[in-house]
């Protein structure tokens, strides 16, 4: 079975966001593989270790910087990579079209991705890819079993856990709690440098949306801070909760 994993290069989740010339400033920001995608890579590697997957291909779309995300996935254990060169301003539609075109050429049995990216938070691209390819999909998974040409996954749904079955090929997107991604070993990092990465041009697609403005939310101001005996502090906090917030006591 061939597994294809979509990865995105994103800002470190500890990064502070600032604006420069009306855009998100990226100078000096540590870049990481999107944490949700990292889990998808780990999931693919575990499928290979179990003998379910034979080959893992990792694909990313964006600028040359996305190469780092691909190399990280290769160092973890993926076999080869595809970097789609695309304007970083491409929207969810255009990125899905570019990814789906590259995926189609590979003819995989399973496509994995994070269910959302930690930067734009759109959670659209995996489902859009599934629609383009005519594949079924399951999102936000926390477990996955592959057998007999079918995938059965548990998902973190609103108010509960949903278990869904689809036929392969399918697109499946991960929640961060699916697994604990491994750190690349030194040997893995060395091997990753020799693994093949193909660079392809993005399939032509116009954006369907336009970002007209970036802004920063109003900074929250610090209020009262008290350092007193626990009973005094508790009484003051209770008073604030009752009279300012007006909480209801059940």
């Amino acid at each position: 079975m061939k597994v294809l994993v979509c990865v995105k290069q994103t800002f470190d989740t500890e990064a502070k966001i600032e604006l420069k010339d009306g855009k998100i400033a990226d100078a000096g920001i540590n870049l990481i593989i999107n944490p949700y995608d990292e889990v998808a890579v780990e999931g693919a590697i575990q499928l290979k270790e179990k003998g379910v997957a034979k080959e893992i291909v990792v694909v990313s779309t964006g600028s040359d910087k996305a190469m780092d995300a691909i190399r990280t996935a290769l160092a973890m254990g993926a076999d080869r990579g595809i970097l789609i060169t695309q304007d970083p301003g491409a929207d969810e539609y255009a990125r899905a079209v570019a990814l789906a075109a590259a995926i189609k050429d590979e003819n995989p049995d399973l496509v994995l991705a994070g269910h959302v990216a930690a930067d734009d938070g759109s959670s659209q691209v995996p489902t859009r890819i599934a629609e383009i390819l005519g594949f079924p999909h399951i999102n936000v998974i926390t477990s996955l079993d592959i057998a007999g040409g079918k995938a059965v996954a548990a998902s973190e749904a609103d108010g509960g856990t949903q278990v869904t079955e689809v036929s392969l090929p399918a697109v499946i997107s991960s929640q961060v709690s699916w697994n604990e991604p491994r750190y690349p070993s030194m040997k893995g990092i060395m091997q990753a440098k020799k693994k093949p990465v193909a660079t392809v041009a993005a399939a032509a697609a116009d954006n369907k949306t336009a970002i007209v403005e970036f802004s920063l939310p109003a900074a929250k101001q610090a209020g009262i801070k008290i350092e007193e005996d626990p009973d005094v502090a508790a009484a003051k906090l209770a008073d604030w909760m009752k009279n300012v917030v007006k909480v209801e006591i059940k």
């Binding site: 989740t13 959670s123 949306t209 009973d231 502090a233």
Partner: protein
């Protein structure tokens, strides 16, 4: 191209509050507002939507629609969009809503704004504010395709009643609605007496300072006194004291309750991203330098093991 459609978020006839939030918001655009509901035995829900201003209720009944499934739902709504030509269709930003809207948007080769926290919709134009980097920044997105599609974050828009006619329209079931390709084998509801994290009025969260299950128990008792949801920082989730579905922050949930109480949480940037938009924030932490105090309306420098039980006793008075 006229009218705003609100797709009803429901399970077994229980309508989620975000539906009423979307109806209330849609009323502001001055265009006709319709609730669109798919399911089994859902026609009777029409008066519920009329109460929040729905002029029309498009009700689609059938076994295949009993529970959400992508294939049937997308086929059905595409047929309805082609027939009735709404200006905009709003969905809840939920597990099912974003699944539905994303697949629909791609089928229509259309743009989609997800997890929207502010909206301006007029004829042929949709401008949406979205929280990016989990709320560390905002982007304003214009949708340039038709119909205008968006998923709305629960708990952001207010709810106000206004009478609507609620006239029931029963569209024909679309030809492709039988194409089910996801089989839902099981849905196990979370067994909890507490409200859902993203919908709760009050959220009480525990972090590293809870030190273990004993500390979590203290904040749970406090939460139950307030009818609050319980959440956690990455430290308490990674330690296994709370399930991942309760994580607040950039790789967890973004919450915006009336009151957020952070207990033993230092306030890493990725956690602040998930809760800074709460109306009121209180914090209890032993470290006077903890960044959580920079965003707190009321901060107590102290040990949660001492302060929280005393606070519970005080509130009970």
């Amino acid at each position: 191209m006229a009218g705003t459609w609100v797709f009803v978020e429901q399970r077994d006839g229980n309508i989620r509050k975000v539906t009423f939030e979307m109806l209330t918001e849609a009323k502001k655009y001055g265009d006709e507002v319709s609730a669109v509901v798919f399911g089994k035995g859902v026609k009777g829900l029409a008066p519920e939507f009329a109460k929040f201003g729905a002029d029309k209720v498009y009700a689609v009944e059938g076994d295949v629609f009993a529970d959400y499934n992508t294939g049937a739902y997308v086929a059905q709504i595409v047929a309805m969009i082609n027939e009735f030509k709404p200006n905009a269709v709003l969905f809840a930003h939920s597990f099912n809503g974003r699944d539905f809207a994303s697949r629909l948007a791609q089928k229509l080769e259309a743009g989609l704004a997800t997890d929207v926290i502010a909206a301006e919709i007029s004829a042929g134009k949709g401008l949406f504010t979205r929280a990016i980097y989990a709320g560390k920044a905002l982007s304003k997105v214009e949708i340039t395709t038709s119909p205008i599609l968006a998923t709305i974050r629960p708990g952001v828009f207010g709810v106000a009643e206004s009478a609507g006619a609620g006239a029931v329209v029963e569209p024909a079931v679309a030809a492709g609605a039988g194409d089910v390709y996801q089989i839902v084998k099981e849905f196990k509801p979370t067994v909890s007496a507490r409200p859902e994290l993203t919908e709760a009025e009050v959220v009480v969260s525990g972090g590293r300072g809870c030190k273990g299950p004993e500390g979590i128990k203290i904040i749970e008792e406090f939460a139950d006194l307030l009818g609050a949801a319980v959440g956690g920082s990455r430290a308490s989730i990674d330690s296994g004291w709370l399930g991942h579905e309760l994580q607040v922050g950039q790789t967890g949930k973004v919450v915006n309750p009336n009151l957020y109480v952070a207990c033993g949480i230092s306030g890493a940037i990725q956690h602040l991203a998930g809760m800074s938009s709460s109306k009121f924030i209180a914090a209890v932490n032993t470290d006077t330098e903890a960044p959580i105090f920079n965003v707190s309306d009321f901060g107590v420098v102290g040990d949660l093991f001492k302060v929280v039980p005393l606070l519970v006793a005080e509130l009970k008075k």
